[in-house]
């Protein structure tokens, strides 16, 4: 559904999602918008189904245009087929060539005129009613949602909206046939509706985070938005910092004080935070940084998705600086992976970068209720040394993890330092001290048991599809389709990007004859990372492109069929 600013596209789509949730459907709602601050053309990209949905589809069944203003800018992001229907207002002028070329059936719905006939009527409600009727979506939950959002505030707006939906539904009879949605199955299944960015915020709190300092940046701002209201409720602190340098260093200060801390940003902000991450790493003061990746480099395309911050996240720190990088692979997994990231950061006294992306962060899903897992960040707490002995903050322990005091604890005073230091924390320039601390900091990360959370692994087959982040949904759907065609593939979505797990991936790839790497990067950063960090049994094939176009299941499926021949 698309239209210019003020057309109410996002409002209508959100109401549609609310109604779908109410009725017992699953859904994925992504958004594509231009750079305008307010208004400007926008497209609500909704996929609706009776079973769980984690991926965009290859094409859209219905494209509804309230008007055509600026919509051609999204043409590539709104793929249609001969089976699609384009519904547009005859008063909006000619259908842009890209959509005509697609071969889709073009039908007219006079949304503006129908809305005019209703006092206070709006075209977006006509559109909502028409789409609902066309796909056989029940009207009752729509009315219910309208009631919830409008009735109390404005009775007249409620009446007008209900009338609009009804008029749209009646007019839909003139639009011909369309694929029907089918009966919802999940009315009684425990489901949630949440965006990836809110999920990230929730996961942080579940993991024990009680401090966040952050600076607004698209497309990560909703993490900040969520935490600014949720953290105080659980006794935490939120600060809007003056910049990303302050954000990350405030978090490090709070963490030094004993509070699990998080900040959220996108690529440009991560670039600014890198020095702070080095401090966190060297001083062994845990901090979690969420990077909701957008199209780079530099300012790039701020509102759209790309998986191109992998290199900076893994290799961006100066010096030999092993640290944690984890990546969620679904909206639901934003909750788990962030929680797990906090847990790991706290347990290993390390910085952890959570590499989310715009397609996960800013999409709203109707999903199965996520499990409430037990990972809550806990540090190895220090005890005061015996009388006459010096406290060793950076003690060279077998695990590499040194007990960490909480300021206020008598007898454990130490100075946290980014300067190389001895076991007591005293600055040193001696090679033996440097080697000892380097070994210790690496050992604690490589020696940790990450369990089976290091990757999401599904299915068996001669072909392995290795992917990460928001590409996982499309890859999963492609693997399912290929299986139906008799080509068996195994899906491996890495959640733990750094440190690497060579033995684990080696085991997962046993018997695999071909590898396909799926990612959204022009340079193929993930492929290069896999080839550089892992001994893959065969040279992988690469299926990748830069943002903002998402990887779609169809193209991965096609490649799998070719590889399976």
């Amino acid at each position: 559904m698309c239209g210019s600013g003020g057309a109410g596209v996002m409002t209508a789509a959100n109401m549609f999602l609310d109604a779908a949730a109410e009725a017992g459907f699953y859904a994925l709602f992504g958004r594509s918008s231009g750079p305008q601050i307010r208004g400007g053309e926008a497209a609500a990209l909704v996929r609706l189904g009776v079973d769980p949905i984690t991926s965009v589809d290859d094409t859209f069944d219905i494209m509804l245009a309230i008007d055509w203003q600026g919509v051609q800018r999204f043409a590539a992001e709104l793929p249609l087929s001969k089976n699609s229907i384009v519904i547009c207002d005859p008063s909006a002028g000619e259908v842009p060539e890209a959509y005509v070329k697609s071969g889709a059936r073009i039908v007219h719905l006079p949304m503006k005129d129908l809305a005019k006939a209703i006092p206070g009527g709006r075209p977006n409600m006509i559109a909502l009613g028409a789409v609902a009727a066309l796909i056989g979506f029940p009207v009752a939950p729509l009315t219910e949602v309208l009631g919830k959002s409008l009735k109390k505030k404005r009775a007249d707006a409620f009446e007008a909206s209900v009338a609009g939906v009804k008029a749209g539904a009646e007019a839909a009879a003139t639009l011909g046939e369309c694929k029907k949605i089918g009966a919802p199955k999940a009315k009684d299944v425990k489901r949630w509706t949440i965006t990836g960015n809110y999920g990230t915020g929730l996961g942080a709190i579940r993991g024990g985070v009680r401090f966040c300092a952050a600076y607004p940046i698209t497309p990560a701002t909703e993490v900040l938005e969520y935490l600014s209201s949720a953290l105080p409720k659980v006794g935490g602190v939120f600060v809007q910092a003056e910049d990303e340098l302050a954000s990350v260093n405030m978090c490090i200060g709070a963490s030094y004080g004993g509070e699990a801390s998080i900040t959220s940003t996108a690529g440009p902000g991560l670039s600014l935070m890198i020095e702070g991450l080095g401090l966190s790493m060297a001083s062994e003061t845990p901090v979690v940084v969420v990077d909701v990746q957008r199209v780079g480099p530099s300012t790039g395309i701020a509102t759209k998705c790309e998986q191109s911050d992998l290199n900076i996240a893994v290799y961006g720190l100066h010096g030999d600086a092993p640290h944690l990088v984890v990546a969620p692979n679904s909206i639901s997994d934003c909750i788990f992976t962030t929680q797990w990231g906090v847990y790991l950061a706290e347990a290993l006294q390390s910085p952890c970068i959570v590499l989310s992306d715009q397609a996960l962060g800013q999409s709203r899903g109707i999903i199965d209720a996520p499990a409430d897992v037990a990972f809550v960040g806990k540090r190895l707490v220090a005890e005061a040394p015996a009388e006459g002995e010096v406290f060793k903050r950076y003690a060279n322990t077998a695990s590499g993890i040194s007990p960490m005091p909480v300021p206020g604890q008598p007898g454990c005073q130490y100075t946290a330092d980014g300067l190389e230091h001895t076991e007591t924390g005293t600055p040193t320039s001696q090679s033996s001290d440097h080697v000892m601390q380097l070994d210790k900091r690496q050992r604690k990360l490589t020696g940790h048991d990450y369990g089976n959370h290091w990757a999401t692994i599904e299915g068996e087959g001669d072909i392995a599809v290795i992917t990460w982040g928001s590409c996982t949904g499309a890859a999963r759907e492609a693997v399912d389709r290929a299986r139906a065609d008799g080509v068996n593939a195994k899906l491996i979505a890495l959640r733990l990007i750094y440190p690497t797990r060579p033995e684990h991936l080696g085991d997962a790839l046993k018997g695999v004859k071909k590898i396909l790497v799926v990612e959204q990067s022009h340079l193929g950063q993930f492929t290069r990372y896999l080839r550089g960090e892992y001994d893959l049994p065969v040279k992988p094939e690469q299926l990748s492109r830069p943002g903002p176009l998402p990887m779609r299941p169809g193209e991965i499926h096609a490649r799998l069929l070719k590889m399976g021949k």
Binding site: A21, E22, K190, R191, W192, T193, I194, Y198, L202, I205, R206, R210, F211, A213, P232, K233, V234, G235, G236, V237, V239, A241, E242, D243, L245, A246, S247, V248, N249, M250, I252, G253, A254, S255, Y256, G257, G258, E259, S261, G276, G278, L279, S283, I366, A369, D372, P405, P407, G408, Q409, P410, Q413, Y414, T415, A416, D417, G418, G425, T426, P427
Partner: protein
Amino acid sequence: MTAVTYSAKDFKSDVKPVWCPGCGDYAVLSSITKAFADLGLAPHQTSVVSGIGCSSRIPAYTNTYGFHSIHGRALAVGQGLKLARPDLTVLVAGGDGDGFSIGGNHFLHACRRNVDLTYIVMDNRVYGMTKGQPSPTTESDWDASAMAPPGGTGMTPFHPLAIALAAGANFVARGFSGDPNGTAAIIAEAIKHPGFSFVAIMSPCITFREEQREWKDTMRKVAIDSTNDAAQAARRLMTDDGYNCGVLYRGNRVSYGKEKIATAQVADLDAEFTL
């Protein structure tokens, strides 16, 4: 039961400073530890946070919970610590390059934000650790160092007190390392005063600015009259030559941050998303 009291010595560590003989920072370290002891604080409930530079080495020389962070970010680390742990006494310390050049933006916003901590800048108008480049407070025509451009930078020196006042600092003062007792008293007052307290301490670098030895004659101890009227304080700064010591301004702004009170359990947060 008698309360344990700590002397200034209890706040010092046995790590040997990297500072040059004659550096003003030795005296500032003594003033800080004296202020802590005079206030009846305990080393484990006190924290000293710094950035990078000669004076920023100071946390390791104290026996408090120290944090020697990165260049320019001391105030960010210190504010985060204080907001997470309001029960601790947090003192942020560093030099003029660290605080006013690379950390200048944080200085402005720390003044505005008014978190209850004390910020000490040991000002020697030079980058000492990198051996003699001009800093933001260096006189515009200073070119005695081979590291300075001939004729000086030509840039107007940063006026820390005026900028702190304009940006909203709640306590503004100047001390001199050559008057350790007077400086200790100012630091103690700064710590006690609620909100963001800023103390500029003139602390000579006789290695790269030998002429600063003269400060012992030019600095005027207790020369500033204190006021709680920002306009009055601003007028006094207009005729200030940088050599007057004392507390210039005591404001009455409320410190940043609310008391941390949980009104919900973590599990309660799920309700917002549950269908």
